[in-house]
């Protein structure tokens, strides 16, 4: 099977600029990943949460605005009735759990997003050029998730031990990434 193409292909040459001798922001892309949405009905929220947890290989389902990490998998509750299971390895469509309509609905969204990681001591200031979310350690600690707007576009943001992660709609990824890098030149940045 052929390789998946990145929406940031046009930007895919290693870039590095520094300002005042510093590189404050590092960008990297997670290319091929699997994103599965598991949706419940109000009546089946808890049982579907268990299903989602199993699929992600985690112990417990996260609360709203939280994510749990298990190896290369992340489980997020992005809407009141929807879970996202994110895995840093592409999965076969056939490995998706079967949708049992009375329980909920499963949907493969693996190609709809571009996954960007943003790290460095200027990562939060850079993201705050666009995201109206309090990213301080106190307000947005590791494991926090937020679906919010950037330039009138919906994006999903979460924080793990090493970086901020952001899922951008694939069709807008290039345009938004350009905004990120233009605003990062004042901090020095690299894209690997």
């Amino acid at each position: 099977m052929v390789d998946r193409q990145s929406a940031l292909a046009a930007h895919r040459r290693p870039q590095q600029t520094s300002f005042d001798g510093a590189t404050g922001v590092s960008f990297s892309e997670v290319w091929a990943f699997s994103l599965v949405q598991i949706a419940a009905w109000p009546e089946t929220l808890h049982s579907v949460g268990v299903t989602a947890t199993k699929l992600a290989g985690c112990d417990a389902a996260p609360a709203p605005g939280r994510a749990v990490f298990e190896g290369t998998r992340t489980l997020m509750r992005v809407e009141p009735l929807k879970w996202w299971v994110l895995s840093e390895a592409p999965q076969d469509a056939s490995s998706l759990p079967a949708s049992e309509a009375s329980q909920g609905a499963v949907l493969d969204l693996s190609h709809s997003r571009t996954w960007l990681r943003v790290s460095g001591d200027k990562a939060a200031p850079l993201l705050n050029h666009y995201l109206p979310i309090n990213l301080s350690d106190r307000a947005f600690p590791v494991g926090s998730v937020a679906t919010t707007a950037m330039h009138h576009i919906g994006v999903t943001l979460w924080r793990d031990e090493d970086a901020f992660n952001i899922l951008l709609p694939r069709s807008l990824a290039s345009s938004l990434f350009e905004l990120f890098t233009e605003s990062s030149s004042q901090y020095g940045y690299k894209f690997t």
Binding site: M1, V2, R4, Q5, S6, A7, A9, A10, T17, F19, A32, Q37, A39, W41, L81, K82, A93, S99, A101, S102, G104, A105, L107, D108, L109, S110, H111, S112, R113, P125, N128, H129, Y130, L131, P132, I133, N134, S136, R138, A139, H151, H152, I153, P169, R170, S171, L172, S174, S175, L176, E178, L179, E182, S183, S185, Q186
Partner: protein
């Protein structure tokens, strides 16, 4: 005025001299100077010309209220007009110019306006455009249109560059517990108190140094430096050169940070300014107070300044503003200023309107009590000041003194703008003769002079109070005041019935006489006073003149100031550049660009792109030397004869899932969907609640409870939002989930007689798409030869044998690399939106150009799709009698009578001989038709094509071309039976 730099003193860095130019002349200053202090040090006195009368003006203050030294800074594309010289930090090579004068501010021919000053009185804009004043000559003619152009040219102060802004600007979002505005003693104390209590604090200061008033008081320097140091250690985020320009709902503040306006050669990577949006739980306003002047004859001459400003120029910048100085006051605040100026070597006379006001003055300061300034003598500078004393209600002349600098203190006005933005109506305090901040339920607290507290230690204490209040501990706020002798309210000095040029609003040249004139002419509301005289409408927004104007108006009306009312302050507090408000949303980032997964592939294969909403889509694929008209005709013909491939990835795609999905679709579509078989697609029309068509698309049934809905590109978001609204607000019992998958799939349409053969050659082993394996409107999963999994649907928009092929977006290019060589081998082409338009117009298929929100399902000729067996969204209101009339405009095709002629989309269709009004219809789309060999169009006409059979219709296009005779035909112009699709 004979100002000079002293050889010691001030906070400037004398080891770091700077050179700058003003009106082409080079001067010297120091790091730490403002443009005003440096010009003053060089004894440059005339720096501007007033708005209407072109009177010479000089430095009047040391702050944002500056109304005289207003200059243009910078050159070419970076020039910025209307800069207040005291607010411009000096840097090496700064270039500034005077404004509103020709040839220059020192000698301005515009001063001739002064001779006609009686025609420029209040309301002159209104009166002048009735007819020439004073008798309205030419009233009722259009004479005013002749001189309007001249007036327009002369209007305005500085002129802006016409070139694109070369700088970039940033937006930033920030959050904190406490936002403190102002870094005087109250602000510094408030910020430190809050920070030491563990709160996250942001402190903003519009100046480049922290300290506020204490920057002009050397005796406070040690304490100031200690406070600033403690703040940094306590983790306060300190933002100098940043103005809080507005307060908004729910604890939001707008800040403007000047990043490089003080830098000679800024780095390219830095934005010029940043517009911050801060959300804070509590806001402390330690914004200080501004000193007022007094209205008296010629109070605008260069050399007349507010008193505290002189102290600032002396103590902060080491400049002695004059040699023979008169200080006129009605309050205690001038004492330190008088003493400091005298110690620096000037001759100082203190004129206090109060008796026994000033005390403990050193012997070398002359004191005159009971007098106020009446008139300034001198033209481009102060030569003498005449005094008056009050006897009863009138003034009478009281002698004169030579001087070169007149300092005036008419009182202090707390800066209440920011809380006023929130609707807190300022309250007049008669004892202190000023407005104090109004009451509010929001967590906004005033500290220091902004709360009418005048004395240093009391300011610090009030800062501490404000911080504890912000932390939620309610205690009684400190009392305003702090002068030992009360102020004596004083707004204007003039002899009875004297005609004076006593300015109230310096920037707009509004005088005391103008205020009285407005009142005489019946403009007695403060809102009318403002707009009729333009008082308070200049770039200072009334900082110097509002209170005086109000007092004069109240006096003319025989009322007290609080009864006269106030206008409401609105953001911004000081001007904000449009660039900062735009941020990076300029040029190609004005709106985000959506690219399909095939974007780069299309460009590589010769596509010329066009905008379709936020998307770029291929418009046409020109072969070498082809122009667009040749390309699209070739593409459309090739599709009809052979095969073409078109990128349709931008269409909206929504996954509709759940046990009630079929029922839900049945309610939102006008036609039936409940019984759509699995593996079939169906074209559907959605109406709005009001019965008009909202969108059209096809929905595919992939499983019992799985559907894929497609919508038009432009309406994808709207449809998704409507469906979520229905499910959550009206039908919460339905178990349906809708999720956007627009970006999940790359999609192409493969259309033409060779479409089946082309696709079949690209499928994996064992995949078949014969007519039986995949009948018309069939849908199923498919795998391509290179292993890519996808969906295939036999749907036709072009009217040819056609398929839509969907693969996961990341495999889109790989799919094209498989499909295109095969299509090329078959003699096919790639086609874009232009050819797509041709094909669909030939078939009479509707798009957003027809379904524009004013059209019903019957108007579009699709009435058969409105089910009579079930109700649906819009089914009730679509039955309104007016929407069912047969004479409504209906979808038709349009042929030119003379096949060589063309017509444009947007042309109006009129009955022959009745080309007028709105006509009978309009044209929505046009194209050259390869199938007919001539131009065709699609559009609407009342009654539809049967009402116009055999009649001549005129396509009329008033603004663009000549009238064309046309014939109205059925919209299904080509292959009306749809034979080719079913092949």
């Amino acid at each position: 005025m004979t100002a000079r730099r002293l050889d010691h003193g001030g906070r400037i860095n004398r080891a770091h001299p700077l050179s700058f130019t003003f009106d082409g002349n080079t001067f010297r200053g120091y790091k730490g100077d403002t443009l005003a202090s440096a010009l003053m040090a060089n004894n440059e006195t005339v720096l501007g010309r007033s708005f209407k009368y072109h009177r010479p003006r000089g430095i009047m203050s040391a702050g944002v209220e500056e109304s005289g030294a207003i200059v243009t800074v910078g050159r070419d594309a970076s020039r910025e007009p209307n800069v207040k010289a005291p607010m411009q930090e000096l840097y090496e090579g700064l270039s500034a110019e005077g404004q509103n004068a020709w040839p220059n501010v020192r000698f301005d021919l515009g001063a001739i306006n002064g001779l006609f000053s009686r025609f420029f009185a209040a309301g002159f804009y209104y009166k002048t455009f009735m007819g020439l004043p004073p008798f309205e000559w030419g009233h009722g003619t259009r004479l005013w249109m002749l001189y309007e152009k001249l007036i327009r040219k002369a209007a305005g102060m500085g002129s802006a560059s016409r070139e694109p802004d070369p700088d970039c600007y940033d937006h930033v979002h920030a959050f904190c517990d406490v936002l403190v505005v102002g870094s005087g003693p109250a602000g510094l104390t408030a910020a430190l108190t809050a920070a030491e209590a563990g709160r996250d604090v942001i402190l903003v200061e519009q100046d480049f140094e922290l300290g506020g008033d204490t920057l002009s008081d050397p005796s406070r320097e040690i304490e100031r430096a200690q406070l600033v140091d403690a703040l940094a250690k306590a983790g306060v985020r300190i933002m100098p050169r940043t103005t809080a320009f507005g307060l908004y709902d729910h604890g939001t503040a707008g800040l403007l940070e000047r990043v490089t306006d003080h830098v000679a050669d800024p780095a390219d990577q830095l934005p010029r300014q940043r517009f911050w949006t801060v959300r804070s739980d509590a806001t402390i306003l330690a914004t200080g107070a501004l000193e007022r002047s007094i209205a008296f004859d010629n109070n605008d001459r260069p050399g007349v300044m507010t008193a505290a400003a002189a102290r600032s120029y002396l103590n902060r910048f080491g400049v002695l503003p004059g040699q023979k100085i008169v200080i006129a006051t009605n309050n205690d605040s001038v004492h330190h200023t008088a003493v400091a100026l005298a110690s620096a070597g000037a001759d100082v006379t203190l004129a206090d309107i109060r008796k026994h006001g000033a005390s403990d003055l050193p012997a070398d300061i002359e004191l005159r009590e009971g007098v106020a300034p009446l008139k300034v003598h001198g033209r481009s500078g102060v030569e003498a000041v005449a005094f008056a004393s009050a006897s009863g209600n009138n003034w009478s002349a009281a002698g004169q003194t030579d001087c070169d600098l007149l300092l005036v203190s008419g009182g202090w006005s707390p800066v209440v703008n920011l809380s006023s933005h929130r609707g807190a109506k300022p309250a007049w305090n008669a004892e202190l003769a000023c407005f104090l901040p109004g009451l509010t339920n929001e967590p906004i607290y005033h500290a220091g002079s902004a709360a009418g507290i005048w004395e240093y230690e009391a300011c610090k204490a009030s800062g501490e109070w404000a911080a504890t209040a912000a932390l939620g501990e309610a205690t009684a706020p400190p009392q305003p005041g702090g002068w030992s002798t009360p102020i004596k309210p004083l707004y204007e000095v003039r002899l009875p019935e004297a005609k004076t040029k006593a300015f109230v609003d310096f920037q707009h040249d509004v005088t005391g006489d103008d205020v009285r004139l407005a009142q005489q002419e019946g403009f007695v509301s403060v809102e009318h006073l403002k707009r009729y005289t333009t008082l308070g409408m200049a770039t200072d927004q009334g900082k110097m003149g509002n209170v005086i104007g109000l007092a004069l108006m109240a006096d003319a009306l025989g009322k007290d100031i609080p009864d006269a009312g106030t206008t409401r302050f609105r953001p911004p507090y000081t001007p904000v550049s449009i660039g900062a408000l735009a941020g990076r949303n300029v040029g190609h980032h004005f709106k985000p660009l959506r690219r399909t997964p095939l974007h780069d592939w299309n460009l590589k294969h010769g596509a010329t792109m066009t905008e379709a909403g936020p998307w770029h889509r291929p418009w046409y694929f020109a072969k070498t030397g082809e122009v667009i008209d040749e390309a699209y005709v070739r593409e459309a013909s090739t599709v009809r004869k052979t095969v073409g491939i078109c990128d349709v990835s931008s269409l909206g795609k929504i996954a509709v899932q759940g046990p009630d999905a079929a029922e839900f679709l049945n309610r939102v579509y006008s036609n039936g969907f409940a019984k759509l078989p699995i593996g079939k697609a169906r074209y559907g029309i959605m109406l709005r609640d009001d019965g008009f068509v909202m969108d059209d698309g096809t929905t595919w049934r992939l499983g019992e409870t799985e559907f894929l809905m497609t919508t038009t590109t432009t309406n994808a978001g709207k449809v998704m939002v409507f469906m979520e609204e229905l499910l959550q607000t009206r039908w919460p019992d339905l178990k349906v989930h809708v999720s956007s998958v627009s970006d999940e799939w790359a999609a192409v349409s493969v259309a033409g007689p060779k479409a089946r053969a082309t696709i079949a050659a690209c499928l994996a082993e064992g995949e078949y798409i014969s007519n039986e394996a995949l009948p018309f409107m069939g849908v199923r999963k498919i795998t391509l030869a290179n292993g890519i999994p996808g969906l295939i649907a036999r749907i036709s928009f072009s009217g040819e044998l056609a398929y839509e092929l969907y693969v996961p977006a990341g495999h889109g290019a790989a799919m094209m690399d498989l499909l295109w060589p095969e299509a090329e081998r078959q003699g096919g082409c790639l086609y874009g939106l232009e050819a797509l338009g041709t094909l669909r117009i030939e078939k009479g298929h509707v798009t957003g150009a027809e379904l524009d929100g004013r059209v019903t399902i019957d108007d579009a000729g699709l009435g058969k799709m409105a089910s009579t067996k079930k109700p649906f969204i819009g089914s009730a209101l679509r039955q309104r009698p007016d929407l069912l009339r047969h004479d409504r405009p209906q979808l038709v095709g349009i042929f030119p009578k003379n096949p060589g002629q063309t017509f444009k989309g947007g042309a109006i269709l009129c009955a022959d001989g009745e080309v007028s009004g709105f006509g009978e219809g309009w044209i929505t789309g046009v194209t050259h038709s390869p199938m007919f060999g001539h131009w065709i169009g699609i559009g609407f006409i009342s009654g539809g094509h049967t009402a116009w059979a055999g009649k001549t219709v005129i396509a009329s296009d008033l603004t663009r071309s000549e009238d064309v005779e046309v014939e109205i035909v059925s919209p299904h112009m080509y292959d009306p039976e749809g034979v080719k699709m079913h092949g």
